[in-house]
Protein backbone atom coordinates (compact mmCIF):
# COMPACT_ATOMS: atom_id res chain seq x y z
CA UNK A 1 0.00 0.00 0.00
CA UNK A 2 1.31 3.43 -0.88
CA UNK A 3 1.35 6.38 1.48
CA UNK A 4 -1.42 8.20 -0.45
CA UNK A 5 -3.73 5.17 -0.44
CA UNK A 6 -3.24 4.61 3.27
CA UNK A 7 -3.80 8.30 4.06
CA UNK A 8 -7.12 8.30 2.19
CA UNK A 9 -8.30 5.06 3.83
CA UNK A 10 -7.23 6.17 7.31
CA UNK A 11 -8.88 9.55 6.79
CA UNK A 12 -12.16 7.99 5.64
CA UNK A 13 -12.25 5.46 8.50
CA UNK A 14 -11.44 8.20 11.04
CA UNK A 15 -14.20 10.38 9.60
CA UNK A 16 -16.76 7.63 10.19
CA UNK A 17 -15.39 6.99 13.71
CA UNK A 18 -15.56 10.69 14.59
CA UNK A 19 -19.06 11.00 13.11
CA UNK A 20 -20.45 8.02 15.05
CA UNK A 21 -18.56 9.03 18.18
CA UNK A 22 -20.16 12.48 18.16
CA UNK A 23 -23.64 11.13 17.35
CA UNK A 24 -23.63 8.58 20.13
CA UNK A 25 -21.70 10.65 22.64
CA UNK A 26 -19.23 7.82 23.17
CA UNK A 27 -16.37 9.70 21.49
CA UNK A 28 -14.37 8.61 18.47
CA UNK A 29 -11.10 7.95 20.32
CA UNK A 30 -12.21 4.67 21.74
CA UNK A 31 -12.53 3.00 18.32
CA UNK A 32 -9.50 4.65 16.68
CA UNK A 33 -6.86 2.49 18.39
CA UNK A 34 -8.49 -0.89 17.62
CA UNK A 35 -9.25 0.32 14.09
CA UNK A 36 -5.63 1.31 13.41
CA UNK A 37 -4.09 -1.78 15.00
CA UNK A 38 -6.51 -4.48 13.83
CA UNK A 39 -7.51 -3.20 10.38
CA UNK A 40 -4.40 -1.31 9.32
CA UNK A 41 -1.66 -3.16 11.21
CA UNK A 42 -0.32 0.04 12.78
CA UNK A 43 1.79 -0.46 15.92
CA UNK A 44 -0.33 0.16 19.02
CA UNK A 45 2.06 2.92 20.21
CA UNK A 46 1.62 4.93 16.98
CA UNK A 47 -2.13 4.23 17.17
CA UNK A 48 -2.34 5.53 20.74
CA UNK A 49 -0.34 8.64 19.77
CA UNK A 50 -2.64 9.43 16.83
CA UNK A 51 -5.76 8.77 18.90
CA UNK A 52 -4.60 11.05 21.71
CA UNK A 53 -3.98 13.91 19.28
CA UNK A 54 -7.43 13.50 17.71
CA UNK A 55 -8.97 13.46 21.20
CA UNK A 56 -7.50 16.92 21.88
CA UNK A 57 -8.97 18.22 18.61
CA UNK A 58 -12.52 16.90 19.06
CA UNK A 59 -12.82 17.79 22.74
CA UNK A 60 -11.50 21.33 22.23
CA UNK A 61 -13.78 21.86 19.25
CA UNK A 62 -16.87 20.68 21.13
CA UNK A 63 -15.85 22.40 24.39
CA UNK A 64 -15.75 25.74 22.59
CA UNK A 65 -19.49 25.52 21.91
CA UNK A 66 -20.47 24.21 25.38
CA UNK A 67 -18.39 26.76 27.30
CA UNK A 68 -19.97 29.58 25.35
CA UNK A 69 -23.47 28.32 26.18
CA UNK A 70 -22.55 28.33 29.87
CA UNK A 71 -23.05 24.62 30.61
CA UNK A 72 -19.47 23.71 31.52
CA UNK A 73 -18.42 24.58 35.07
CA UNK A 74 -14.94 26.03 34.60
CA UNK A 75 -14.02 25.84 38.31
CA UNK A 76 -15.00 22.18 38.63
CA UNK A 77 -13.07 21.47 35.42
CA UNK A 78 -9.94 23.35 36.47
CA UNK A 79 -9.89 21.84 39.97
CA UNK A 80 -10.34 18.25 38.77
CA UNK A 81 -7.74 18.76 36.04
CA UNK A 82 -5.15 18.65 38.82
CA UNK A 83 -6.20 15.01 39.31
CA UNK A 84 -6.59 14.08 35.63
CA UNK A 85 -3.27 15.67 34.57
CA UNK A 86 -1.34 13.94 37.34
CA UNK A 87 -3.04 10.68 36.40
CA UNK A 88 -2.26 11.26 32.72
CA UNK A 89 1.45 11.71 33.49
CA UNK A 90 1.40 8.42 35.40
CA UNK A 91 -0.49 6.72 32.54
CA UNK A 92 1.97 7.97 29.92
CA UNK A 93 4.82 6.74 32.10
CA UNK A 94 3.19 3.29 32.40
CA UNK A 95 2.66 3.21 28.61
CA UNK A 96 6.43 3.23 28.22
CA UNK A 97 6.99 0.50 30.81
CA UNK A 98 4.20 -2.03 30.17
CA UNK A 99 4.42 -4.44 27.23
CA UNK A 100 2.08 -3.89 24.29
CA UNK A 101 0.23 -7.13 25.17
CA UNK A 102 -0.67 -5.84 28.62
CA UNK A 103 -1.72 -2.46 27.20
CA UNK A 104 -3.84 -4.29 24.61
CA UNK A 105 -5.61 -6.36 27.27
CA UNK A 106 -6.32 -3.30 29.44
CA UNK A 107 -7.59 -1.51 26.33
CA UNK A 108 -9.91 -4.40 25.51
CA UNK A 109 -11.26 -4.45 29.06
CA UNK A 110 -11.98 -0.70 28.89
CA UNK A 111 -13.77 -1.19 25.54
CA UNK A 112 -15.92 -3.98 26.96
CA UNK A 113 -16.77 -1.85 29.98
CA UNK A 114 -17.63 1.20 27.83
CA UNK A 115 -19.97 -0.90 25.68
CA UNK A 116 -21.61 -2.40 28.75
CA UNK A 117 -21.95 0.96 30.47
CA UNK A 118 -23.47 2.68 27.44
CA UNK A 119 -26.23 0.07 27.40
CA UNK A 120 -26.71 -0.31 31.16
CA UNK A 121 -25.94 3.00 32.86
CA UNK A 122 -25.04 2.35 36.53
CA UNK A 123 -27.64 3.47 39.05
CA UNK A 124 -25.75 3.15 42.32
CA UNK A 125 -25.28 6.46 44.09
CA UNK A 126 -22.70 6.00 46.85
CA UNK A 127 -23.26 9.46 48.29
CA UNK A 128 -26.76 10.72 48.95
CA UNK A 129 -26.09 13.50 51.40
CA UNK A 130 -28.32 16.43 50.62
CA UNK A 131 -26.11 18.85 52.52
CA UNK A 132 -23.60 21.01 50.74
CA UNK A 133 -20.15 19.46 50.77
CA UNK A 134 -17.88 21.75 52.79
CA UNK A 135 -14.88 21.17 50.54
CA UNK A 136 -17.00 21.96 47.48
CA UNK A 137 -18.10 25.22 49.09
CA UNK A 138 -14.52 26.11 49.96
CA UNK A 139 -13.52 25.48 46.36
CA UNK A 140 -16.52 27.42 45.04
CA UNK A 141 -17.62 24.47 42.92
CA UNK A 142 -21.39 24.97 43.26
CA UNK A 143 -22.82 26.58 40.16
CA UNK A 144 -25.77 27.13 37.88
CA UNK A 145 -26.60 26.47 34.26
CA UNK A 146 -29.18 27.73 31.74
CA UNK A 147 -32.43 25.85 32.42
CA UNK A 148 -35.44 25.25 30.15
CA UNK A 149 -37.32 28.52 30.48
CA UNK A 150 -34.34 30.85 30.34
CA UNK A 151 -33.83 30.74 34.11
CA UNK A 152 -30.52 29.74 35.69
CA UNK A 153 -30.81 26.44 37.56
CA UNK A 154 -28.59 26.09 40.63
CA UNK A 155 -26.89 22.89 41.74
CA UNK A 156 -24.66 21.66 44.57
CA UNK A 157 -21.57 19.51 44.35
CA UNK A 158 -20.92 16.55 46.68
CA UNK A 159 -18.31 13.92 47.47
CA UNK A 160 -15.36 15.94 46.20
CA UNK A 161 -12.53 13.65 47.46
CA UNK A 162 -14.05 10.53 45.88
CA UNK A 163 -14.68 12.34 42.59
CA UNK A 164 -11.12 13.64 42.66
CA UNK A 165 -9.79 10.11 43.16
CA UNK A 166 -11.83 8.68 40.30
CA UNK A 167 -10.62 11.53 38.07
CA UNK A 168 -7.04 10.51 38.80
CA UNK A 169 -7.93 7.02 37.53
CA UNK A 170 -9.64 8.46 34.45
CA UNK A 171 -6.50 10.53 33.72
CA UNK A 172 -4.25 7.48 34.10
CA UNK A 173 -6.35 5.46 31.62
CA UNK A 174 -6.35 8.40 29.22
CA UNK A 175 -2.55 8.66 29.37
CA UNK A 176 -2.05 4.90 29.09
CA UNK A 177 -4.49 4.24 26.22
CA UNK A 178 -4.68 7.54 24.34
CA UNK A 179 -8.43 7.89 24.90
CA UNK A 180 -10.47 10.73 26.40
CA UNK A 181 -12.03 8.41 29.02
CA UNK A 182 -15.07 10.67 28.96
CA UNK A 183 -17.34 7.86 30.20
CA UNK A 184 -15.38 7.52 33.45
CA UNK A 185 -15.21 11.30 33.89
CA UNK A 186 -18.98 11.57 33.52
CA UNK A 187 -19.46 8.83 36.15
CA UNK A 188 -17.29 10.79 38.60
CA UNK A 189 -19.12 14.07 37.93
CA UNK A 190 -22.67 12.80 37.53
CA UNK A 191 -22.97 9.74 39.81
CA UNK A 192 -20.50 10.63 42.54
CA UNK A 193 -20.35 14.40 42.72
CA UNK A 194 -24.07 14.61 41.86
CA UNK A 195 -23.67 17.27 39.20
CA UNK A 196 -26.55 17.62 36.65
CA UNK A 197 -26.02 15.41 33.61
CA UNK A 198 -25.76 18.21 31.05
CA UNK A 199 -23.16 20.01 33.18
CA UNK A 200 -21.31 16.72 33.75
CA UNK A 201 -20.99 15.79 30.08
CA UNK A 202 -19.93 19.27 28.98
CA UNK A 203 -17.48 19.75 31.86
CA UNK A 204 -16.02 16.29 31.16
CA UNK A 205 -15.51 17.35 27.55
CA UNK A 206 -13.89 20.58 28.71
CA UNK A 207 -11.36 18.59 30.78
CA UNK A 208 -10.49 15.99 28.16
CA UNK A 209 -8.28 18.35 26.14
CA UNK A 210 -6.07 19.29 29.08
CA UNK A 211 -5.87 15.68 30.27
CA UNK A 212 -4.79 14.53 26.81
CA UNK A 213 -2.29 17.39 26.46
CA UNK A 214 -0.64 16.29 29.73
CA UNK A 215 0.35 12.94 28.23
CA UNK A 216 0.76 14.14 24.62
CA UNK A 217 4.05 15.91 25.43
CA UNK A 218 5.52 12.70 26.83
CA UNK A 219 4.27 10.73 23.81
CA UNK A 220 5.91 13.24 21.48
CA UNK A 221 9.22 12.99 23.31
CA UNK A 222 9.11 9.21 23.16
CA UNK A 223 8.49 9.24 19.40
CA UNK A 224 4.94 7.79 19.59
CA UNK A 225 3.42 10.55 17.46
CA UNK A 226 3.96 9.73 13.81
CA UNK A 227 2.92 12.58 11.50
CA UNK A 228 1.99 10.25 8.62
CA UNK A 229 -0.49 8.34 10.83
CA UNK A 230 -1.67 11.25 13.01
CA UNK A 231 -2.41 13.61 10.07
CA UNK A 232 -5.30 11.66 8.44
CA UNK A 233 -6.62 10.49 11.81
CA UNK A 234 -6.73 13.98 13.35
CA UNK A 235 -8.29 15.60 10.28
CA UNK A 236 -10.75 12.76 9.71
CA UNK A 237 -11.96 12.49 13.30
CA UNK A 238 -12.32 16.28 13.65
CA UNK A 239 -14.35 16.64 10.46
CA UNK A 240 -16.46 13.61 11.38
CA UNK A 241 -17.17 14.96 14.86
CA UNK A 242 -18.12 18.35 13.41
CA UNK A 243 -20.58 16.71 10.99
CA UNK A 244 -21.87 14.41 13.74
CA UNK A 245 -22.71 17.31 16.03
CA UNK A 246 -24.75 18.92 13.22
CA UNK A 247 -26.79 15.74 12.66
CA UNK A 248 -27.38 15.14 16.35
CA UNK A 249 -30.97 16.37 16.29
CA UNK A 250 -32.31 14.53 13.28
CA UNK A 251 -31.14 10.93 13.68
CA UNK A 252 -32.28 8.09 15.89
CA UNK A 253 -29.60 8.34 18.56
CA UNK A 254 -30.92 5.35 20.53
CA UNK A 255 -30.58 2.83 17.73
CA UNK A 256 -27.19 4.25 16.74
CA UNK A 257 -26.00 4.03 20.32
CA UNK A 258 -27.00 0.39 20.39
CA UNK A 259 -25.18 -0.37 17.13
CA UNK A 260 -22.07 1.55 18.17
CA UNK A 261 -22.00 -0.24 21.53
CA UNK A 262 -22.13 -3.52 19.61
CA UNK A 263 -19.16 -2.45 17.48
CA UNK A 264 -17.18 -1.48 20.60
CA UNK A 265 -18.06 -4.81 22.25
CA UNK A 266 -16.77 -6.70 19.22
CA UNK A 267 -13.59 -4.58 19.02
CA UNK A 268 -12.94 -5.10 22.74
CA UNK A 269 -13.16 -8.88 22.41
CA UNK A 270 -10.98 -8.81 19.29
CA UNK A 271 -8.32 -6.60 20.95
CA UNK A 272 -8.12 -8.92 23.97
CA UNK A 273 -7.92 -11.99 21.75
CA UNK A 274 -5.19 -10.46 19.56
CA UNK A 275 -3.22 -9.35 22.62
CA UNK A 276 -3.33 -12.82 24.17
CA UNK A 277 -2.31 -14.40 20.86
CA UNK A 278 0.61 -11.93 20.73
CA UNK A 279 -0.48 -10.23 17.51
CA UNK A 280 -0.65 -6.71 18.91
Amino acid sequence: MSVVELTVLLGAASLVAGFLGALTGLGGGVVIVPLLTLAFGVDIRYAIGASLVSVIATSSGAAAAYVKEGFSNIRIGMFLEVATSTGALLGAFLAGVLSTHVIGIIFGAVLLYSAFQSLHPPVAAPCDDKQRDRLATLLKLHGSFPGECGKQREYCVQCVPMGFGLMFGAGALSGLLGIGSGALKVIALDRIMRIPFKVSTTTSNFMIGVTAAASAGIYLNRGYIDPAVAMPVMLGVSLGALLGSRFLVVTHARLLRFVFAGVILFLGAEVIYSSIMGRL
Binding site: M1, S2, V3, V4, E5, L6, T7, F40, V42, D43, R45, Y46, V53, I56, A57, S60, G61, A63, A64, A65, V67, K68, S72, I74, R75, M78, F79, E81, V82, S85, T86, L89, A92, F93, G96, L139, K140, G209, V210, A212, A213, A214, S215, A216, G217, I218, L220, N221, R222, G223, Y224, I225, D226, P227, A228, M231, P232, M234, L235, S238
Partner: protein, 127 residues
Protein backbone atom coordinates in the same frame (compact mmCIF):
# COMPACT_ATOMS: atom_id res chain seq x y z
CA UNK B 1 -20.80 43.61 29.27
CA UNK B 2 -18.13 45.80 30.79
CA UNK B 3 -14.88 45.24 28.96
CA UNK B 4 -12.84 45.88 32.09
CA UNK B 5 -14.34 43.18 34.33
CA UNK B 6 -13.10 39.63 34.27
CA UNK B 7 -16.14 37.76 35.51
CA UNK B 8 -16.73 34.08 34.76
CA UNK B 9 -18.97 34.92 31.80
CA UNK B 10 -16.24 36.87 30.01
CA UNK B 11 -13.68 34.22 30.84
CA UNK B 12 -15.99 31.56 29.32
CA UNK B 13 -16.33 33.55 26.11
CA UNK B 14 -12.58 34.11 25.78
CA UNK B 15 -11.87 30.43 26.44
CA UNK B 16 -14.43 29.35 23.84
CA UNK B 17 -12.90 31.60 21.18
CA UNK B 18 -9.37 30.53 22.05
CA UNK B 19 -10.26 26.82 21.77
CA UNK B 20 -12.00 27.26 18.43
CA UNK B 21 -9.16 29.35 16.96
CA UNK B 22 -6.52 26.89 18.20
CA UNK B 23 -8.20 23.84 16.67
CA UNK B 24 -8.85 25.59 13.34
CA UNK B 25 -5.27 26.88 13.12
CA UNK B 26 -3.85 23.45 14.01
CA UNK B 27 -6.05 21.67 11.45
CA UNK B 28 -4.99 24.16 8.76
CA UNK B 29 -1.29 23.66 9.46
CA UNK B 30 -1.65 19.86 9.60
CA UNK B 31 -3.54 19.90 6.28
CA UNK B 32 -0.87 22.10 4.64
CA UNK B 33 1.93 19.89 5.96
CA UNK B 34 0.03 16.80 4.85
CA UNK B 35 -0.22 18.11 1.29
CA UNK B 36 3.53 18.86 1.18
CA UNK B 37 4.27 15.42 2.64
CA UNK B 38 1.99 13.58 0.19
CA UNK B 39 3.33 15.54 -2.80
CA UNK B 40 6.84 14.40 -1.95
CA UNK B 41 6.37 10.94 -0.44
CA UNK B 42 2.85 9.93 -1.53
CA UNK B 43 3.90 7.15 -3.88
CA UNK B 44 6.31 5.48 -1.48
CA UNK B 45 5.24 2.21 0.16
CA UNK B 46 3.85 2.56 3.68
CA UNK B 47 5.02 0.26 6.44
CA UNK B 48 4.21 1.15 10.02
CA UNK B 49 3.94 -2.38 11.35
CA UNK B 50 7.23 -2.26 13.21
CA UNK B 51 7.74 0.37 15.86
CA UNK B 52 11.00 2.27 15.51
CA UNK B 53 10.06 5.50 17.25
CA UNK B 54 10.26 8.81 15.47
CA UNK B 55 13.63 10.33 14.50
CA UNK B 56 14.94 12.89 17.02
CA UNK B 57 13.95 15.92 14.93
CA UNK B 58 10.27 14.94 15.23
CA UNK B 59 10.43 14.43 18.99
CA UNK B 60 11.14 17.87 20.40
CA UNK B 61 9.78 21.36 19.93
CA UNK B 62 13.20 22.64 18.78
CA UNK B 63 13.66 19.81 16.28
CA UNK B 64 10.20 20.34 14.79
CA UNK B 65 10.81 24.10 14.41
CA UNK B 66 14.08 23.47 12.55
CA UNK B 67 12.25 21.04 10.25
CA UNK B 68 9.51 23.59 9.59
CA UNK B 69 12.15 26.15 8.60
CA UNK B 70 13.45 23.60 6.07
CA UNK B 71 9.83 23.09 4.83
CA UNK B 72 9.75 19.37 5.61
CA UNK B 73 6.16 18.11 5.28
CA UNK B 74 6.41 15.80 8.28
CA UNK B 75 7.71 18.60 10.50
CA UNK B 76 4.94 20.96 9.36
CA UNK B 77 2.36 18.31 10.34
CA UNK B 78 4.13 17.84 13.66
CA UNK B 79 4.13 21.62 14.17
CA UNK B 80 0.36 21.68 13.60
CA UNK B 81 0.00 18.93 16.20
CA UNK B 82 2.13 21.01 18.59
CA UNK B 83 -0.23 23.98 18.05
CA UNK B 84 -3.08 21.60 18.89
CA UNK B 85 -1.35 20.45 22.10
CA UNK B 86 -0.65 24.08 22.98
CA UNK B 87 -4.35 25.00 22.70
CA UNK B 88 -5.47 23.47 26.03
CA UNK B 89 -2.28 24.80 27.62
CA UNK B 90 -3.09 28.33 26.39
CA UNK B 91 -6.60 27.82 27.75
CA UNK B 92 -5.20 27.07 31.22
CA UNK B 93 -2.85 30.08 31.00
CA UNK B 94 -5.80 32.30 30.07
CA UNK B 95 -7.67 31.00 33.11
CA UNK B 96 -4.69 31.82 35.36
CA UNK B 97 -4.83 35.38 34.05
CA UNK B 98 -8.61 35.56 34.43
CA UNK B 99 -8.57 34.32 38.04
CA UNK B 100 -5.71 36.72 38.78
CA UNK B 101 -7.83 39.63 37.56
CA UNK B 102 -10.72 38.37 39.68
CA UNK B 103 -8.40 38.29 42.68
CA UNK B 104 -9.26 34.60 43.24
CA UNK B 105 -5.96 33.42 44.76
CA UNK B 106 -7.12 29.86 45.39
CA UNK B 107 -7.89 29.31 41.72
CA UNK B 108 -4.76 31.12 40.55
CA UNK B 109 -2.89 28.49 42.55
CA UNK B 110 -4.92 25.57 41.20
CA UNK B 111 -4.60 26.65 37.56
CA UNK B 112 -0.87 27.37 37.99
CA UNK B 113 -0.44 23.82 39.29
CA UNK B 114 -2.18 22.40 36.19
CA UNK B 115 -0.09 24.66 33.97
CA UNK B 116 3.07 23.38 35.65
CA UNK B 117 2.08 19.74 35.03
CA UNK B 118 1.41 20.47 31.35
CA UNK B 119 4.65 22.42 30.90
CA UNK B 120 6.54 19.57 32.53
CA UNK B 121 5.05 17.07 30.07
CA UNK B 122 5.84 19.10 26.96
CA UNK B 123 9.11 20.64 28.14
CA UNK B 124 10.87 17.88 30.01
CA UNK B 125 8.81 14.99 28.76
CA UNK B 126 11.18 12.26 29.87
CA UNK B 127 9.90 10.63 33.02
Amino acid sequence: MNRKTWDDKRLQLLIANLLRAGVLLAAGIVLAGGLVFLARHGSEPFDRRAFQGEPPDLRSVGGVLRGVAALHGRDIIQFGLLVLMATPIARVALAVFGFLRQGDRLYVGITLLVLGLLAYSLGVGRL
